[in-house]
Amino acid sequence: MASELQTQVRAFILENYLFTDDESALGPDESLLDRGIVDSTGMLEIIMFIEDELGVQVADEEMIPENLDSVNRIAAFVSRKK
């Protein structure tokens, strides 16, 4: 069962980078960078989304693949910080 956070994060990425609302287009554990869904600029936009829309500040040292490089990783990171 997907958490509300996971759904929110996935919707943002689907809408802005894959231009679809078809959830099957992006697996929850797929690497956003390896699949070429976002580039370095896109990752910065995701960080801005986390800070502005999800209300969690991302410190510099937290900007690592383990926290940000898939829907599940982002959702887990944000819920830890909330």
Partner: protein, 511 residues
């Protein structure tokens, strides 16, 4: 024996055998190892039925295999066509067909590979996936010979060495043809003014398949220096840590790279004391951003540079000493290059009335592949029309004020609006479309589109963007799409893009 960048690389292999040529995330590669792999590729190509001048394509990210394949192709007497790894399969297939590639070395993890294989299955293109698990590649690698020089085909200076595709209309891709002389001459000119030597460890984030990254590759391999390969800056903190721990001595970027990596005051806590110089090209960086860099990196020299693919890479540079008193200038022509503004009297061009910048030298391309019409539009008596507007100040420093052509610069990418218009115009329900550039804080410029729909048709923005993604790389998909009743045009029917830009800005302000 002719001079060439591949020949210079072989000299470095002999001189710096045990020095590091490349450092990847996994490990370091010595010049000897890289030389052996290069020899293996060239011997393999020599054993096939390829003829001198045949095109061999590369679709690989920056990695040791890219470098070995590049020089291996040259040593076998063939022409390198390195394509953008971000392009979708239909675009890649079209470019491979356009240049008549006979062999393709491709990243076996490329997302588009299955579709690309399908699209190219009818031709006689030999596709070689590059991976440890690929039988063919393993066989090539295991064929590495200690004495590969005897397999080398001697190139002539006028031989075509590389084709670099830049964005054009989809009907006619623009392949910039660079000769062995072009590559060699521009590499030597750059080594004349940049302090690159064999002790350098350059931290490289720029793709080798673009002309800027291509010039970094050849200058460093010629100088016997080391390139630290970093393929993205998505996690800037971690990237800066790597730069620190590797004790990088130099760094190159486009304005977006600097904004992404050095933003958020990150440099305050970083220890980049080994960094001797940084160099910027690929579009204008604001004077404020330059000055911020100079403050944040007190012991580091800053080179502002200017160039374009049609000139192999570099045309001019501003000496670090003039960063303040000539702020905003792209400096003077590099050795071996002559620059001129306007077609006759240069002195009449000022900040108020700039003229077009022309360039001359051994680095200027011979033309666009199979497109004499487009070639003759930009090449006149050996001079290159750059499409950039500018003027010289009283001390002979060049200032650029804008472009006379419509090209959009987004991040490190040069994008032709016509290419995007071609794709959108073919979508169902679209009557007309105009593509233009809007300001973007990180990218410099972003792509925007104004669309006139067919009568009675309603289109969804997301649908259009998704359909674009099938035929365009993601950086070309418009970030902003507006529906309009009609497009602004001149009396002869030419689209007035500047009006679209003005309308967009006015709308943004009123919202």
């Amino acid at each position: 024996m002719q001079q060439s960048v591949a020949r210079s690389f072989l000299d470095s292999v002999e001189r710096h055998r045990s020095s590091n040529a490349l450092i990847t995330i996994e490990r370091a590669w010595t010049y000897e190892e890289l030389g052996r792999l290069t020899g293996a590729v060239s011997s393999f190509l020599g054993s096939t039925k390829l003829e001198r001048g045949d095109r061999v394509a590369i679709i690989l990210p920056n990695c040791p295999e890219y470098v070995a394949v590049f020089y291996g192709i040259h040593l076998a007497g063939c022409v390198v066509v390195a394509l953008n790894t971000q392009e979708p399969a239909p675009v890649l297939a079209r470019l491979l067909e356009h240049c008549g590639a006979r062999v393709l070395f491709v990243d076996d993890k490329l997302r588009e590979l299955p579709q690309l294989r399908e699209l190219t299955s009818n031709g006689d293109l030999r596709v070689i996936p590059v991976s440890e698990d690929s039988g063919e590649w393993s066989e090539i690698v295991s064929g590495s010979l200690p004495n590969f020089r005897r397999h080398v085909v001697d190139s002539r200076s006028s031989d075509l060495a590389a084709i670099i595709y830049t964005s054009g209309t989809t009907g006619s891709p623009k392949g910039v043809m660079l000769s062995q002389t072009n590559l060699f001459a521009n590499t030597q000119s750059i080594l004349n003014y940049l302090p690159i030597s064999w002790v350098d460890k350059c931290f490289n984030v720029l793709a080798f398949y673009y002309s800027f990254g291509n010039s970094i590759l050849h200058t460093h391999m010629t100088a016997g220096a080391c390139l630290i390969l970093q393929n993205h800056v998505a996690f800037p903190h971690a990237v800066l840590k790597r730069m620190e721990s590797e004790k990088a001595t130099s760094f190159y970027g486009v304005p977006t790279t600097f904004a992404l990596l050095f933003g958020r005051d990150r440099l305050r806590d970083a220890n980049l004391s080994a960094l001797r110089y940084i160099a910027q090209a690929g579009g204008p960086m604001s004077v404020a951003q330059q000055q911020q860099l100079a403050e944040d990196l007190p012991g580091t020299e800053i080179y502002v540079m200017y160039g374009q693919t049609e000139a192999t890479a570099r045309l001019s540079y501003l000496e670090p000493a003039h960063l303040v008193d000539k702020a905003g200038s792209v400096g003077k022509a590099i050795p071996g290059v002559t620059l001129r503004v306007g077609s006759s009297d240069e002195s009449k061009h000022t900040a108020e009335s700039p003229g077009e910048v022309y360039a001359f030298g051994d680095n200027i391309m011979s033309g666009y592949w199979n497109d004499s019409m487009a070639s003759s539009e930009v090449l006149r008596d050996g001079w290159l029309r750059t499409g950039d507007l500018g003027y010289f100040d009283n001390d002979g420093f060049l200032f650029l004020t804008g472009r006379s052509s419509d090209m959009i610069k987004t991040g490190a990418n040069r994008v032709s609006p016509a290419e995007i218009e071609d794709v959108i115009a073919r979508l169902d329900g679209v009557a007309e479309v105009g593509v233009y550039a809007i300001d973007d804080a990180i990218l410099g410029q972003a792509v925007a589109a104004a669309i006139v729909t067919e009568p009675g048709v309603e289109l969804d923005i997301q649908d259009i963007q998704r359909q674009c993604l099938a035929g365009l790389s993601s950086f070309k998909v418009p970030k902003s799409i507006k529906f309009v009743e009609s497009l602004p045009k001149t009396s002869s029917g030419k689209l007035k893009r500047h009006v679209l830009v003005k309308d967009y800005e006015e709308r943004e302000q009123s919202e």
